[in-house]
Amino acid sequence: AGGLALAAPAQAAEMDVEVMAGACTFCHGTDGNGVGAAIPSISGLPVEQFEYMMTSYQEDANPSTVMGRIARGYTDDQITALAEYFGSKPFERLPQPWINVAMIPEGKELAAEYCESCHENEGREGEGVGILAGQKLYYMEFSVDDFLNEHREMERRQARKFRDLMDAQGREGFTKILNYYASVN
């Protein structure tokens, strides 16, 4: 709970960002860390990934239920300010009691084979890939559906891994992996 130095001349601008970010946290949770099962946590993302998500929502290049309507309310500068703000908050890996724990061991093995090359360090990091470790299970399920249905774009290597996994394990293979990633703490 870092308080702000209110006497500093920069405070008005800093408070503008605090207030602006406050319009995200009633959905995404305090500091961008949610407790619900579906809305993704948005803390701790690299700035460019955050900006990419917001601008692709604006253009509907990335499918969304609500984020397109919201992202279009912010300028590029405001998005950068929000990306820096949330990027500076630690991503909290909160317990997800809805996880199917029976799937975790097999999910972990499959993840190592099909996902870990990009979603590194048990899904905690990776170049331009977002965070899977401890991310909300249902958000990840919806994202995988969007990739599989070609509503969300995949790079070639990613698409090949998805196809290989689908051939080997079917859609359930993804669910096993996602239950594992959601459980990483």
């Binding site: 308080g3 130095a5 008005a12 602006m20 249902y138």
Partner: protein, 409 residues
């Protein structure tokens, strides 16, 4: 970093009236922004019961305990809780008095008492009548009463819902309630009907609700479970008789087996007592939520006139952060921030069927307006399809958990 040294000697004090979404958010975020600030919340109830998701309790899909949050959790943020009711604000002496006889001093006062009902607007309706014909527009015993009445009703009964004129708390709320009552009746009492007597000719997310009603409850056919009588067809309710369970509207008198009267509304009583109200609601500076009538006192949430922002929990939460930052800056003689706020309201229309309305607002200090940012906001697309509706139901429940934690956690 706390307050700087000089300010620390006189850390400002804030008294917040009401521990609902508006008041609790403001209190918590004042402490987050300035950990040295002294914050007291006056709230008569030890437990707050959210109105949001209370329609799922009425429809039988949720236990009321999930709506209940203990006020005591706010102490973890260093907030002083006074379990009492505020009875007056003296803006000159800068004190709030309570029913219990306390007088509490403030540098800035924040008022968020929610709505009160204009019982005089419907002849025969009153707090006593609401024990027979519940409003269930403040959650708690009224919610469980309406649920119990629906459970006790025979198959083939008529449920009357009267929807109020604008502006009122939660514009899509009556229609979500109608949907979830219909969902319950369809499964358990399929010969029953819902008669909606409305004081308006159109309502929030109307297309999406009507689409859900067509999909699930036969709306628009002869077998429709829901009949909607708009104002133009005489839907405005003028009187009730709890003894006979009759409701009189401009169109005529109707008898219900269960009657849910959602009365016209105004700012909470304390706002009236403190002279903060004009035309039913509290005019404010929309940058800081400071009252335009009484200096040093801020009003936010359902009681305030936030013009284009609807009276919702999400609005109250978003405003709470602007009010916290604004009140802090003014208390310390600094420039208040320029708010950029948002609202989003989810509604559940049936099984696996959610949708939303969202808007982003920029503050225009010249016009003292929170203006929807052009190109942003709007409702879920009509043609979004069942998968999108299913996702929005998951997201609605997620929003509920996250906003509860952001306000009272």
């Amino acid at each position: 970093v706390g307050l700087p040294h000089i300010a620390r000697a006189a850390a400002p004090s804030f008294v917040v009236i009401g521990g609902g979404p508006g008041g609790a958010t403001t209190a918590k975020y004042i402490r987050r922004f300035a950990p040295d600030a002294r914050v007291t919340v006056i709230e008569p109830n030890a437990t707050y019961t959210t109105c949001f998701m209370s329609n799922e309790v009425i429809g039988g899909d949720r236990d009321i305990s999930t709506l209940q949050v203990p006020m005591s959790a706010m102490r973890a943020h260093g907030i002083t809780l006074v379990q009492d009711k505020a009875t007056g604000i003296d803006a000159d002496a800068k004190t709030v008095t309570t029913q219990g006889g306390e007088t509490i001093a403030f540098d800035r006062c924040i008022v968020a008492p929610g709505v009160d009902f204009r019982y005089d607007a419907i002849e025969g309706y009153s707090a006593e009548a609401a024990e027979v014909m519940p409003h269930a527009w403040k959650a708690g015993p009224q919610t469980t009463l309406l649920r119990a009445q629906l459970e006790a009703m025979e198959d083939g009964g008529t449920v009357i819902v009267s929807a109020p004129p604008n502006p009122f708390r939660c514009p899509p709320g009556p229609y979500e309630r109608i949907s979830l009552i219909a969902n319950y009746l369809k499964q358990h009492k399929p010969k029953s009907k819902i008669l909606v007597l409305d004081a308006k000719d159109k309502f929030s997310k109307q297309g999406l609700f009507e689409q859900a009603w067509e999909t699930f409850y036969g709306y628009g056919t002869e077998n429709s479970m829901i009949e909607w009588v708009p104002k133009a067809d005489g839907g405005t309710v003028t009187g009730v008789n709890p003894a006979t369970m009759e409701v009189t509207a401009v169109a005529g008198t109707f008898k219900g087996d269960v009657v849910n009267i959602i009365p016209p509304q105004t700012a909470g009583a304390i706002a009236h007592a403190a002279g903060l109200v004009e035309d039913g609601w509290c005019p404010v500076n929309k940058g800081t939520f400071e009252s335009l009538v009484v200096e040093g006192v801020h009003v936010l949430g359902d009681s305030s006139v936030a013009a284009s922002m609807p009276k919702s929990g999400s609005s109250a939460n978003s405003q709470g952060k602007a009010a916290a930052a604004g009140a802090l800056a003014l208390a310390m003689g600094q420039e208040p921030p320029v708010p950029h706020l948002a609202n989003a309201c989810y509604s559940i229309g049936g099984p696996d069927h959610g949708f939303s309305v969202a808007a982003v607002y920029a503050y225009d200090d010249f016009e003292n307006a929170l203006k929807p940012v052009e190109g942003s906001g709007g409702v879920s697309p009509m043609d979004a399809g069942p998968e999108s509706r299913r996702r929005e139901m998951f997201y609605a429940h997620s929003w509920f958990e996250n906003i509860k934690a952001d306000i009272w956690g």
